[in-house]
Symmetry: C2
Subunit: 325 residues, 2 copies
């Protein structure tokens, strides 16, 4: 199954309470494609984005090693790659942005190469909703699933565009604060259902609300699935965790001909696994060379920490008197 | 199995964005015992607390109807019952305390009646840690399990007392903010393990961190269990939800001769069920007359929303090459 990933390719300078890394590899498309590569064949993954001539050599080598098709990545002569610098606070849940230099990303107009205009799965990383819509309009064939991300900046600044994009999308991945901002309701359950109503009506409507250390909620048609977080003792660098989640999720889905609830639930759990690994080293370091053993081990751990047995005293018949359970 | 509940018995005036209730029944011991009564026989539940002559007649009738032994509830002649008034904000997660009149609770010295000094299970609701310790010292026989609650007020104002109490306790129920305050670490996983170290060393060490809408984390010896929250669309009145959780949890445990991990996991889920019902009406109204059917239905729903199937392509042997999962 082919997978097209559209998003940012960036250079990040990251400071945490423990360490600092200058000009590391970053960007939503980077994390998404790397995380997806554990499930999809590298050669089935196409990237669309823009970089400057300073995009790190090791990143090109990494993409090449994975077999990604980077023909959709525009390299701007004399241009500089999108640069972000941020500093995480002690609790790792909040961060200050120190620098955002859009550089070549400021004029990004995604051009999907002809050979990528009919992917099975389309992932729209967090870019302007109008650009996400533009990419959808470049599709020659309707993908099995279009999944997108967004952020506060677009919810408050480009809501009309965002609503138009969501109406063409089958799955939305969003964090809890963004969900509440977009729906304007305190209950995440209500938010999830209202967000589903914003999506394309001609397919399953899938909403995934990421809650960081509290796991994720999946809304799939009328079903709700509550996924646990992987119980990490320490977070080294949370940059890209949300994108790794999305990549693990969509990567896993590309293994399947059809979208089914049981499969999407597992995909959310694999997304959780990739996000957990992402946090354990700087930048993309932890998700560059995982083994499937490492991934499956955490999948099983998540199953173990969230499962409980049914009531042994119960039979099919429900007793209604207290004391007879 | 006998259960002794020590805590506050109160009268609450509660205002939410939707409605208001004057002088409703409240108090930690009230919610705990009512929630526990669905699993334990009423006559096995003893209450220790203090009230004034104004304690509502319908509360006495309710306790009597459940069969609770209230011989440990002191009625102070001419005294007034602990009174709390609060107002919830729009998001229902935050509230302002408008009035706290300790009244007879100010001089509360728990006196455990002789017949209750060897309960199988002892629950210490949120009162001063020195009083919790005093109750433990009144025990003639070591209970199978001593479980306690606490709050910010004691963590900051009576930490030494609290640590002495915890060292005699087998299980602690605490919310996420309190856990971080007591341990001073941002990771709840680290907090859970550090809190376990504070508990009595001669038994299972059980810590339950309540995360409200995000569910709960159970730390049981070296195991972690992540329990989902019940997906409520609307919260009517969250007062007493934490105590109802504790009551459902301990009530369920009294059905068992021994403390086992699988049982404690289910107990956490039943606690979640009782807390979810508690939020659906004012005060104790929703947990006064539940059927076991209603309780078990939500237990099964929680099992359904949190379960996912193992990877169908996997066998016992872990493949380590990507693409062969």
């Amino acid at each position: 199954m082919s997978l097209l990933v559209v998003g940012s390719l960036a250079v990040d300078t990251i400071e945490t309470p423990f360490d600092k890394r200058e000009r590391a590899l970053g960007g939503s498309a980077t994390y998404i494609s790397l995380a997806a590569s554990y499930f999809a064949h590298g050669s089935d993954i196409g990237l669309v984005g823009v970089v400057g001539e300073d995009f790190p050599e090791h990143a090109w080598k990494l993409f090449q090693g994975k077999g990604f098709d980077t023909s959709g990545v525009e390299v701007i002569k004399g241009g500089k790659t999108f640069f972000w610098a941020g500093k995480y606070h002690y609790d790792m849940n909040t961060r200050d942005t120190l620098t955002t230099d859009l550089n070549v990303f400021a004029d990004f107009k995604p051009k999907v190469p002809a050979k990528h205009t009919s992917p099975d799965y389309l992932v729209l990383g967090n870019i302007a909703p109008s650009l996400q819509l533009d990419v959808i309009n470049q599709m020659k064939k309707k993908p099995k699933l279009i999944i997108c991300d967004t952020m506060n900046f677009w919810i408050t600044g480009a809501k009309d565009d965002l609503m138009k994009t969501l109406a063409k999308v089958n799955a939305l991945v969003i964090n809890d604060g963004e969900a509440r901002l977009l729906v304007d309701h305190p209950s995440l359950v209500v938010c999830g259902h209202k967000l589903q109503e914003m999506l394309a009506p001609d397919n399953h409507r899938i909403v995934i609300i990421k809650k960081g250390e509290h796991g994720a909620l999946l809304f799939y048609d009328q079903f709700i699935f509550s996924a646990p977080a992987y119980p990490l003792e320490e977070i080294f660098d949370p940059t890209g965790a949300g994108d790794s989640f999305m990549g693990g999720l969509i990567g896993y889905l590309t293994r399947w001909e059809t979208i089914q609830y049981a499969t999407v639930k597992r995909a959310v759990v694999y997304g959780t696994v990739l996000a957990s690994y992402c946090c354990s080293k700087f930048s993309t370091e932890a998700i560059e060379n995982l083994s499937m053993d490492q991934i499956y081990r955490r999948f099983r751990e998540l199953q173990s920490i969230s499962s409980f047995e049914d009531e042994p005293f119960r039979t099919q018949k429900h007793d209604s008197a207290a004391g007879t359970m």
